[in-house]
C-alpha cells in the first residue's frame, strides 16, 4: 500500500486510474446489460398455460379469429401478434368485441389476469411477437424531469397528432378515434406502442427504444398528476370546446348586457 501511495504522483498515474475506471464502468455496464437481456427473455409460459389458453381461445375467440387463430373474414390472423397484443386487447376489455364496428372499444374486462396470461401464452406459441414488457420499464419516476421532458418531445413528434398534445384523444376517419390516455395503465401504454392495436401504427423497439417508451410513460403520468397550468382545461380539446364555450357563454353575456342596457328601469 505504501508503495502505491508513493507512486501516486507518477506521470502515468492519471492514465492508469482512467483506464481502471473505464474498465470497471464498462464491465459493470456489460453485466447490467446482460442481466436486462436475460430478464427480457424470461417471460416464458408453461405448456399447461398454452393448453389452457387454447381451450379458452377455442371457446371465446375462434368464432372470429378462426381455429388456430389463422383468421377469418371477421377477424385477423393472430399468428405472430405476440403476447403483448393479447395482454393489451384482452386486458383492456377490447377483446372479445361486443359487436363488429369501426373499432373495438374499451369495456369491462371479460377474463381475469390468469386467463389473460393463458390466452397470451397460447397466441405467443403460434408465432414470435412482442412479449409482455418487463416491469422495469413500467415504473415511471415522475420526479425525473429530464425523462419527462424527453418523453414529452417524443410524444409530440410520434403520438400527439392522433392522441392530442394533452393526451386527451381525438377523432380519426369514419367513426374511428384515438382514445384518451388519461388513466391508462403503464403496461397497456407500453403494449399499445409495441403492438399497434387496431389502426394505431407500430412503434417497435428500434423506432422508440424501451427506455424512450418509459420516458413517454413518465411524461403521460406526469401530466396526469401535475394538473393544468393554464386554468380550466375544458377537456383539453383545443379550439372545439374553447370556441364552443366562448361563443355560447361569451356571446350570452354580451347579449344579456345589451338587453339590460336598453331596458327601461322600473
Amino acid at each position: 500500500m505504501k508503495a502505491l501511495s508513493q507512486r501516486r504522483r507518477h506521470p502515468l498515474a492519471a492514465v492508469a486510474l482512467l483506464l481502471l475506471g473505464l474498465l470497471v464502468t464498462g464491465g459493470l455496464y456489460a453485466v447490467a446489460n446482460g442481466a436486462n437481456q436475460a430478464q427480457a427473455a424470461t417471460t416464458t409460459y408453461t405448456a399447461e398455460d398454452v393448453s389452457e389458453g387454447e381451450k379458452l381461445f377455442v371457446a371465446n375467440c375462434a368464432t372470429c379469429h378462426g381455429i388456430e387463430a389463422s383468421g377469418t373474414e371477421n377477424g385477423p390472423s393472430l399468428v405472430g401478434v405476440g403476447a403483448a397484443s393479447v395482454d393489451f386487447q384482452v386486458g383492456t376489455g377490447r377483446m372479445p368485441m361486443a359487436m363488429q364496428g369501426p373499432q373495438a372499444q374499451e369495456k369491462p374486462v371479460q377474463f381475469n389476469e390468469e386467463q389473460t396470461a393463458e390466452l397470451a401464452a397460447y397466441v405467443s406459441s403460434l408465432g414470435a411477437g412482442p412479449s409482455v414488457p418487463d416491469s422495469e420499464y413500467l415504473e415511471p419516476d415522475t420526479s425525473d424531469e429530464e425523462a419527462s421532458a424527453n418523453g414529452g418531445e417524443l410524444f409530440r413528434v410520434n403520438c400527439a397528432m392522433c392522441h392530442n398534445a394533452a393526451a386527451a384523444g381525438g377523432a380519426l376517419t369514419r367513426g374511428k378515434f384515438a382514445p384518451s390516455l388519461d388513466g391508462v395503465s403503464e403496461k397497456h401504454i407500453y403494449e399499445a406502442m409495441a403492438t399497434g392495436p387496431q389502426n394505431m401504427p407500430v412503434f417497435n423497439d428500434t423506432n422508440i427504444t424501451p427506455d424512450e417508451k418509459q420516458d413517454i410513460i413518465t411524461f403521460l403520468k406526469d401530466i396526469e398528476t401535475s394538473g393544468s397550468p393554464g386554468g380550466a382545461q375544458l377537456g383539453s380539446l383545443g379550439p372545439v370546446s374553447e370556441g364552443l364555450f366562448i361563443w355560447t357563454a361569451g356571446l350570452g353575456i354580451i347579449i344579456a348586457f345589451t338587453i339590460w342596457l336598453t331596458s327601461r328601469s322600473s
Binding site: 413528434v157 397528432m161 392522433c162 380519426l172 401504427p201 417497435n204 322600473s266
Partner: protein
C-alpha cells in the same frame, strides 16, 4: 330642440311635402306618455338606487385593490405554476371588476336616478341647392386663398414631393426579404441523404421498419444546420410507413421509389400545410388533423376526402451499403400547398 309637449313631427316641412300627394294612411301616434320610475316617486326606492350605484363603484375599487394584491404579493421570479395561475386570475378578475363596476354603476345611475324625460330634436330642413352653392364657394375660396393657381413653383414642387414621398416604402418592403425564388421547389433532401428519426437524429435501417410501423423522419444533417433549421424542417419532414408490398400500387416510373413496401411521403398537407401524420395502419389512410383531408397510401397518397388540392409528394428511397435508408433524390414536385407559380 324642445321637449315633448312642444315638438310634433308633423310640423317638419319634409314630412309634410312627402305626404302631400296622397291621403295620410297612418296617424302619427307621437311619443308614449311619460311614465315616472319607482325612484322618481318613492324616496326609499331613490335611496336604494343610490346605494346600489355606490356599491357598484365600491366593487370597482375592490377590483383595483385585488389587482394590486395579485401584482405585488406574487413575484414572477420565484413563483410556482400554481401561484402564477393564481396571479393571472387575480389580475384578470381585478381588472374586469374595476372596469365593469364603473361601467355598470354609471349605466345604473343614468337609468334609475338621472332625469329621463323624452327630448325631441327636429331634423334640419334640407336645402340642397343652397348647401351645394355654399360648399362650392368654400372650395373656391380655399383654392383662391392658397394661391395654388398663381404660384406654379409651389404647385410643382408639392407634386414632386408627393410623388417621391412613398418611394421609401418600396425600399422598406423590399427589405422584408428576397423573393422566394425557387426555394419552394426544393428541400434538403438530395440523392444519398440518410433518413433519420425525429427528434433523435439517428439513422434508420430498412430492417427496423416492420409492417405497420410509422416513423417520423427528418433529413440527416438538419439538426446541424447553423440557421433556418425550422424553415428547412417545415419543408423536409417525412412520414415513413411500411405496408405489405402487394398493397402498394405504384404508377409507372415510381416502381423503385419504395423499399420492400417501405414508402416515404411528405408530411406537409397540400391544403394549407398542416402536418399530415394521423396514419391508420389498417385502412392505410393518412388524415390531416386541420381540415380532415384524407390521403390513401395505397394509391400514392391520392386525396380521397377533404379540401387538399393534390396528392402528397412521395420521396424516392433506397437502401445504402450499410442497410440504412437513403433518399435517391429530392421530392419530384414542390411540397405543401399550391401557390401561384406551381402550375
Amino acid at each position: 330642440m324642445g321637449d315633448h309637449s312642444h315638438g310634433s313631427p308633423n310640423t317638419s316641412g319634409t314630412v309634410a311635402t312627402a305626404g302631400q300627394g296622397d291621403e295620410e294612411k297612418f296617424q302619427n301616434p307621437g311619443l308614449p306618455p311619460h311614465r315616472p320610475r319607482l325612484a322618481d316617486t318613492n324616496p326609499r326606492a331613490e335611496k336604494r338606487a343610490e346605494r346600489q350605484v355606490a356599491s357598484l363603484f365600491i366593487v370597482s375599487i375592490i377590483g383595483t385593490i385585488v389587482f394590486f394584491i395579485g401584482y405585488f404579493s406574487i413575484h414572477l421570479d420565484d413563483a410556482s405554476i400554481a401561484e402564477l395561475r393564481l396571479q393571472n386570475i387575480l389580475l384578470g378578475l381585478g381588472t374586469a371588476f374595476a372596469m365593469l363596476g364603473i361601467g355598470v354603476g354609471i349605466v345604473h345611475w343614468a337609468k334609475t336616478l338621472m332625469p329621463d324625460h323624452e327630448i325631441t330634436e327636429e331634423r334640419h330642413e334640407i336645402r340642397p341647392e343652397e348647401d351645394r352653392v355654399i360648399a362650392e364657394k368654400m372650395v373656391g375660396d380655399i383654392i383662391e386663398e392658397t394661391g395654388i393657381k398663381r404660384r406654379p413653383l409651389i404647385r410643382n414642387t408639392l407634386l414632386g414631393a408627393m410623388v417621391l414621398a412613398p418611394l421609401p416604402a418600396i425600399a422598406v418592403f423590399r427589405d422584408l426579404g428576397p423573393l422566394p425564388g425557387d426555394t419552394l421547389r426544393h428541400t434538403m433532401w438530395e440523392a444519398g441523404t440518410r433518413l433519420v428519426r425525429d427528434p433523435s437524429g439517428t439513422a434508420i435501417k430498412a430492417a427496423d421498419v416492420t409492417v405497420g410501423s410509422a416513423f417520423h423522419v427528418i433529413p440527416n444533417g438538419l439538426k446541424d444546420l447553423p440557421e433556418h433549421k425550422l424553415e428547412e424542417k417545415a419543408k423536409a419532414v417525412v412520414l415513413l410507413m411500411r405496408l405489405n408490398p402487394e398493397d402498394l400500387n405504384p404508377s409507372p416510373g415510381r416502381e423503385d421509389w419504395a423499399v420492400d413496401g417501405i414508402v416515404a411521403y411528405s408530411k406537409i398537407c397540400t391544403h394549407v400545410g398542416c402536418p399530415v401524420a394521423l396514419y391508420e395502419q389498417q385502412t392505410h389512410h393518412l388524415l390531416c388533423p386541420c381540415h380532415q383531408s384524407t390521403f390513401d397510401v395505397t394509391q400514392e397518397c391520392k386525396v380521397i376526402f377533404g379540401p387538399a388540392g393534390h396528392a402528397l409528394p412521395q420521396l424516392p428511397i433506397a437502401v445504402d451499403d450499410e442497410g440504412y435508408l437513403i433518399a435517391t433524390s429530392d421530392f419530384k414536385e414542390p411540397v405543401g400547398p399550391s401557390y401561384w407559380e406551381r402550375g
